[in-house]
Symmetry: C2
Subunit: 277 residues, 2 copies
């Protein structure tokens, strides 16, 4: 067990201690923070795991963790998020951050309860596993949390923590997370649909090679040109999608071309909207 | 005007001479091929343009161009493709290539008429503007066309021509083109939808920055992990999309979230299909 020099060192407390808390605590510890948690009421397995981590300061209850922490982090599961926030969020004098992948709606409920003096809307962008942790913040105290973290960082270590303040509005960071999620999951669905069609035609490898040739451009550059292009020629793109669907018709049922149908409908909407303006 | 040494040099003929033909003819000429066309029946403007290109060999009719060419290329517009193929494709002793962005169906109609002794399914992947031209070929004569081009290339020049033979089947290359088109236009539609939502929330720049952070990975690596991930957790992804839609509901009408609705439906289908198996 590690007893940090708590008089000078900033304290990050964790309610719950799974994979995400473990990774976060490690990065924060390496960067010079004290990390606290408790095993109150936890399974023997979790106790064993937490006890094996030598840098963690263990308190007897989560209530104490909440009271001692400058930043209190909840990283459990989306459905336990609200309960934990209501129970422990109000006990801390520090700032409460929720990393449970919650909806903007849940985020707002927590904010309504804790007030924006104790709650900051926060999201980890990208993987927690990597050596670089990107934390996005919005809310009245977002700047304070950023200084709190950045002023105390140890620049000599391998793992980096970056913070980005988006705005003073609770909900902005959650909204960005959900827009990103909507886009990336849309791409996933498109990939699955396209490659399932290619597989049926025995052209899977060939399609990988072709997309590898044309899709490896810098994101922003290719995305901007796609957006401009689509606005400029939504009618032609709509017609091309009609052809795509005619082609897919011969070997796919409706569920197998949902994304292509939506793409056609989207361009139909865009071309008509442009026509109306 | 340029009179090539036609006894030794392979001849590429063009029916029609717009932007694409111009770029193709330039690259082929730089690589040591003779390039032929005609201005028969063309506008004064087109005549002036073609006459100004000093490396082009001009014949008096397109019929002669067809008869003289080892490879006859039609690059005009999708709707004129079939007519040109029927009229000139049958006159050539060489191979007829159609670069008119036609549907697999039109491609098959041309193949039925010309037979696979004179027709090769062919597509230019990527932009014609670049210094590198990628031509994909399928059909019985695909290998012959590849050797014809590759054996005659001048390796000492800047602009490169690459050929890729996909298979012996007419239609495979057109199918690849349309699958690629379906995927890339789906991404375009997703981008537009996502950034229109971000704009409404005043978070456009912030979303660009976030996606720039996470979307700049090599295509194949990120696409493969997305596909595997989506199959593994289609139920969770379906639930997350339900949350996305709940969020979008508050400020979007149906047309503004078509892609997200389709993504949700796709994951619903995938999770149920996995359940059935």
């Amino acid at each position: 067990m590690y007893y940090g020099c708590s008089w000078f060192t900033m304290k990050i407390g964790f309610i719950g201690f799974g994979e995400v808390s473990y990774r976060l605590s490690k990065i924060f510890f390496e960067n010079g923070f004290d990390v606290l948690t408790s095993v109150e009421g936890r399974s023997i397995k979790t106790r064993g795991f937490v006890n094996s981590i030598d840098y963690i300061e263990l308190l007897s209850t989560f209530e104490e963790v909440a009271k001692e922490s400058d930043i209190l982090i909840s990283a459990n599961s989306p459905h336990s998020a609200l309960g934990i926030a209501l129970r422990y969020g109000s006990l801390t004098n520090g700032v409460y951050l929720d990393f449970n992948n919650i909806s903007p709606d849940t985020s707002k409920q927590i904010a309504n309860f804790l007030g924006d003096d104790h709650f900051v809307d926060s999201v980890i962008m990208g993987k927690v596993k990597s050596k670089e942790l990107n934390i996005y913040l919005s809310g009245k105290l977002a700047n304070k949390v950023e200084s709190f973290i950045m002023d105390n960082l140890d620049s000599g270590v391998d793992s980096k923590i970056n913070t980005v303040v988006i705005s003073e509005n609770i909900g902005d960071v959650s909204a960005l997370k959900i827009l990103r999620s909507s886009y990336t999951k849309g791409v996933s669905a498109l990939l699955i649909e396209t490659f399932e069609s290619a597989k049926k035609l025995g052209l899977e490898d060939e399609l990988w090679n072709i997309l590898d040739l044309t899709e490896n451009k810098p994101f922003r550059e290719s995305a901007t040109s796609r957006i401009n292009n689509s606005y400029k020629s939504s009618k032609r793109k709509y017609e091309e999608l009609e052809e795509v669907l005619e082609f897919l018709d011969s070997f796919s049922d409706k569920k197998e071309k949902l994304m292509s149908i939506a793409t056609r409908d989207k361009f139909k909407y865009l071309k008509n909207r442009d026509f109306d303006n």
